[in-house]
Every structure is written in structure tokens, then in C-alpha cells.
Amino acid sequence: MGHHGVVDPVESSADADLVRQIAALPPGQARDGESELYRRLAPRVRLYGLRHLRDQQAAADLTQQVLLITLEGLRSGRLREPDKLASFVLGTCRMVVLDLRRNAQRRQRLLDQFRQDLPTADPSQTPVLDDLALARCMEKLAERERTVLVMIFYDEQTSEDVAGFLGLSPANIRVIRHRALGRLRECMS
């Protein structure tokens, strides 16, 4: 496991403190704390949903279900170790993604039943970029960089496939991709 896999201790301890505060109150009495936890977790769970479901609405549904189960887990004491909040949420995400794929009807029933109890929807969305600005930044890239980004993000080809097309190694493609994305970020900012 790489060093990037380390859960950030500062952020996670802040989350864990919040979990402890919620757990210290009788079930359902920590509305503010639950809202705050929802506010923190919703954008993170939504990212998980986008990655695995590749759909904004499905990611929003996943977010609601995962947070519902998480809050219910907190109220019922199933989340015994506040420091393991991220693991608990990750496990829940996986379970719900499987469930979403398996049982669309049950999902809708659950959402209909509990929708009113949930805090307001997560306002964080993936930013939408200015097309013209992005096109201008793409034009500034080297030809090879532009082709690599289009093949990877439009064609959804792997580094191996792109490497085969360009006669380069997959490692080279990753380097080109990394450099091109860095230039795009810099240009867009």
C-alpha cells in the first residue's frame, strides 16, 4: 500500500471527534452534528459514486443511501470505532453500489421512505469548465499530448492501448498524460 493510502490524520480525527459527539447523545438528538457529518461526507461519497457509476444522478442516489446507512449505523451504535469512519463508509459504499446494480426497485422504495429525513442534498458538484478556455489550453499542448488526452479521456483507452497506437511504452504514455494534465491545470488556472 503506497503512502498515498494513509488516511489524513488531521482530517480523520476531526471527523472522528464529530462521530464521538453524535454518539454521545441519545439517538436522533444530534441533529446539528449529523447535518455537519452529512455536509462533510456527501461530496466524498459522491466522488466514489462518480468513479464507480459514471453518472451524476446515480452518484447522488448512492450518496443519499450511504449517508442514510451511516447515520443509522451511528445512531444504533454499529459504528463502534469513530477512527474507522472512512473504512465504515467505504464498506457501505461498496455494498450500496452492488445493491444499486442489483436492486433498483428496493433502492427507490428506501429513498422514498427516508428522503424527508435526510438533510438537504449535497450542493457540491464537479465544476464545469469554460469550453473555449479549455480548447485554447488544449491547442497549446504538443500534438502528441493532445492525442494522448483525447484517446484516454474520450476513447477511454488504457495506457497500453495508447502506447500500441503511438509506438511508445505504457510508462511513456503515463508520463505524457501526467505532463499534459499538469499543463492543462496550469493553463486553466
Binding site: 498515498h4 489524513d8 462518480l50 469512519l85 488544449m138 476513447d155
Partner: protein, 185 residues
């Protein structure tokens, strides 16, 4: 709040592209579920990825593409207009409001080419724009490029002469040239 162990941008890109090994993916996900800073950087990456996809779908980019790109575009229901002038020859071309992508296919023998430039020239052959070191496929027999469709729609009747030029220590060597005779639809 600053992340003490930020996820490397390359790993974030691999994560989004679903090419991480499962253990590494798990550790990245656990981190992301506890870290807003890395989540924000992933969100920026997703926005870039979505933006690139949109530009490619709209035919906005001047970019060398692959046969797979065209297959995917067709699968997505995009209307692709393609022209393949013979080497040294001409083709009459146009573009309509219904077209989504405008593609040029330039057949050439690229087997001994180290670096390939593509030059857009006027009817007299004077170079107007040069695309340096363009990629070409493993068959080394063709260059497929997407011509930005919006500017093409507003073109008057005109001639675009495209030259493929091999570049090495000796300098430029013209491989072939192709003439596109454009008329508005």
C-alpha cells in the same frame, strides 16, 4: 485543512481511469473518504476529463486521432464526415450543419519517418500553420486528423493544401501533399 499525505496526481488519474490494482484502489478510496483536499483535486481532474470528452465529441479540437476514436464516435451516434484525398491528389469537400466531426485521412508511407510534421498551406503552397511532431499509428501508413468543425462551417470556398513532412537531421523532406477543395454546403 492541508493534507499531510496528498495522493500523487498520476495515482489520482489512474484511480479515475480505473486502472489501479484493487489494494491500491482501496487505500486511495479510504483516503478520499477522509480528505477534502485530495477530493477537490480529483474533482478538478474529473472536470478536465469531462471537458476533454465534450470538446472531442463536439469536434472542436485539431487533433490526430485513431481508428478506434472514429469507431467510438460512430457508436455514440456522432455523424462523421471523412475525406481521403489520394497522395498528390485532390478531393472536393464540404461540411453541413448535421455533421459532428470532420475527418481527414492522409495515406502515406511513414515507415522510415522519425518525426512527422503536418503543414496547412494556402492554394499556392505557402505554409500557414505547422503541427510539429504529430503522432502516427503503428501501421505507419496513414494520418487521421480531426479538423475543427466550427471554423470549417464558416469557411468560404477555399483550397487547403496539406503537406506531410518528415523531419530529421538533414531537415525537411516532403512526403506527400493533399488538396482539399472546400465549398460551403
Amino acid at each position: 485543512m492541508t493534507c499531510g499525505h496528498p495522493i500523487h496526481p498520476e495515482v489520482l488519474a489512474d484511480y479515475w481511469l480505473a486502472v489501479l490494482a484493487s489494494l491500491e484502489e482501496e487505500s486511495v478510496e479510504e483516503h478520499l473518504l477522509g480528505c477534502d483536499e485530495c477530493g477537490e483535486r480529483l474533482r478538478e481532474l474529473i472536470a478536465l476529463a469531462q471537458g476533454i470528452r465534450q470538446l472531442a465529441r463536439k469536434g472542436t479540437l485539431q487533433v490526430v486521432v485513431s481508428e478506434l476514436f472514429l469507431e467510438r464516435a460512430a457508436q455514440q451516434g456522432l455523424r462523421v464526415r471523412q475525406y481521403s484525398p489520394p497522395a498528390g491528389g485532390k478531393v472536393d469537400c464540404t461540411v453541413t450543419a448535421k455533421d459532428d466531426l470532420l475527418i481527414g485521412r492522409l495515406a502515406a508511407d511513414l515507415t522510415r519517418v522519425k518525426r512527422l510534421d503536418m503543414c496547412f498551406c494556402d492554394a499556392a503552397g505557402t505554409e500557414q500553420m505547422r503541427f510539429r511532431d504529430i503522432p502516427f499509428g503503428p501501421a505507419r501508413s496513414e494520418v487521421i486528423f480531426n479538423y475543427p468543425i466550427e471554423p470549417a462551417r464558416s469557411l468560404q470556398a477555399s483550397v487547403l493544401l496539406v503537406k506531410l513532412v518528415a523531419v530529421d537531421e538533414q531537415g525537411d523532406r516532403l512526403l506527400d501533399q493533399y488538396t482539399f477543395n472546400h465549398t460551403p454546403s
